[in-house]
Amino acid sequence: MALLPADFADLEPFADWALPSERDRYGKRLATPMADLQAFYDAAFPRLQDGTDYLKSVRLEGISDEDRRLLWLFAALVTVSFPVEVWRQPRVPDSGAATLDVVVEPGP
């Protein structure tokens, strides 16, 4: 069964990134080797422009499960863009034991 909208079927192999909380998306980023972060970015970033055009037409009120997962998947791309575009490693350099955890966030 498809998890994402039909236009984004090519991203189905990465549907496990469609996590509802920033805490989980960030946790998955830290637990994923750089090569796999790069693979997700290389697949999803070229679809981001189409994604934004599509998501502009999606109202949050009454959003479908497929659209919600697509939003989460691109939110995960936002999280992964930092290691890929900036840090060249999953963790913020020199951030050591520092944490900054989300305690309130809106849905979806």
């Binding site: 934004t52 998501l55 936002v78 989300v102 809106p106």
Partner: protein, 425 residues
């Protein structure tokens, strides 16, 4: 040569009558001094504990653990819709009244009354004691004398404050000229909330120091810009558009060329597509006219103002019509809890939600860099290998904050006979 005009005195530091000598950080590494600050500052000033939106209906409540003020409080909307605050303690045998699972963790919810977990004493939303288990076993117990202990509470621009000083000045007058200048900002329109929390291994003032100067930004955060842009930024360094001080409160006003950037090549690929970044979503929502207290220099390149309302509440208002609050809650002389909360106009489309996500995640990436640097600073100033530190003119608000704290401590010592006099100088 300055890019932006400085005051006639030649520097902001001298303009505000502050000393220009190197400073001691003894006030941030001395356990004795911290104990004095708890009573002199955190039990004597208005503390922001939340916003009115957190209490949407009658019976809505939340608790706050205010370790620095040596207590825990309940904030509740009563049956008349009024906001009240109480000490979070049962009048029977002193059990913490409102908590879940872990007594030291904050909680929130909606209720008709508060019931103590220990012996079932109940209190109305107005604080009155309404039920005593086996009341006839007590000796002449007059329930009207055993209501919850009220705490002074007030609102400013939808922010809820408490104060433990029975002689506290009214909140509006405490917020002063800087508060009045932004009071009409439409905070109430920005109800889309992302809140972050961190336990930080440094004195609470060190994190405020980090956020009241941007001299560090082109260096510590260099990699977050594109390489060429980063080189340019380090070449320019940082200069504020303006600083201002009113009593214990302060503001830093900054330029903001990134929302949107002049040239798309200045920003990262994800920012180009989503039209968003650390400075916010480039497509700003319409919120009407801005209050006069923003952009005090009236500069066309204005991007953001950081207000510090003493002692531990910061409000950052950004040009693309959103805001951020910081709170620093001390837990010991060298630890504190940091809270960073982002507030946006609620998005209507999934795209707008995603744009806001990039602003939120950017804040987190920067915050992680700032947080860890603080622990590195705290451990080394505690070594006392070096005891005096030169501060530049762009660090003027650090001098102001530490001086203000020392003055509160000195005033408290003078006003309270028997207070230990060994304060950090």
């Amino acid at each position: 040569m300055p890019h932006f005009t400085k005051p006639a005195e030649g520097s902001w530091t001298e303009h505000f009558g502050l000393a220009t000598e190197p400073v001691s950080y003894e006030d941030s590494i001395s356990p004795e001094h911290y104990e004095l600050e708890r009573d002199a500052i955190f039990r004597r000033t208005w503390l922001n504990v939340g916003r009115v939106e957190q209490l949407p209906r009658k019976g809505s409540y939340f608790t706050r653990e205010l370790d620095a003020a040596r207590t825990s409080v309940i904030i509740v909307r009563d049956k008349e819709g009024r906001i009240r605050a109480f000490q979070n303690i049962c009048r029977h045998r002193g059990n913490k009244l409102v908590w879940n699972d872990y007594p030291k963790e904050e909680t929130s919810g909606t209720c008709r009354q508060f019931t103590c977990k220990y012996h079932g004493w109940r209190y109305g939303l107005e604080g009155d004691l309404t039920f005593v288990q086996q009341e006839s076993e007590f000796f002449d117990l007059d329930k009207s004398e055993f209501g919850l202990v009220p705490v002074t509470v007030d609102e400013w621009a939808g922010f809820i404050f408490v104060n433990f000083d029975p002689e506290a000045q009214p909140l509006t007058s405490y917020m002063g000229r800087l508060g009045a200048g932004i009071e009409s900002y439409p905070f109430d329109k920005m109800t889309q909330v992302h809140k972050y929390r961190a336990e930080i291994g440094s004195n609470w003032k060190l994190f405020i120091d980090a956020f009241m100067e941007f001299y560090h930004a082109p260096v510590l955060h260099a990699k977050q810009a594109t390489e060429e842009e980063s080189r340019k930024l380090q070449g320019y360094g940082y200069e504020a558009l303006a600083y201002d001080v009113d009593g214990p409160h302060a503001v830093v006003s900054s330029w903001g060329g990134m929302s949107p950037p002049k040239d798309l090549a200045m920003v990262k690929p994800i920012e180009r597509v989503l039209r968003s970044g650390l400075f916010g979503v480039w497509d700003a929502p319409d919120i009407g006219a801005l209050p006069e207290g923003l952009n005090p220099a009236g500069h066309p390149a204005w991007g953001e103002d950081s207000f510090l309302f003493f002692p531990n509440f910061m409000v950052l208002i950004w040009k693309p019509n959103w805001y951020l609050t910081y709170h620093y809650w001390p837990t010991s002389y060298n630890t504190h809890i940091f809270e960073g909360t982002l507030y946006f106009v609620p998005p209507t489309t999934a795209y707008e939600r995603l744009q806001q996500e990039l602003a939120v995640v950017s804040f987190k990436e920067y915050g992680l860099q700032d947080g860890n640097t603080l622990e590195a600073t705290q451990t080394m100033i505690e070594s006392r290998a070096v005891t005096e530190f030169p501060l530049c003119d762009q660090e003027v608000m650090l001098r102001h904050l530490h001086k203000t704290c020392r003055e509160y401590v000195a005033d408290h010592q003078q006003a309270t006979p028997g207070t230990p006099v060994r304060a950090a100088s």
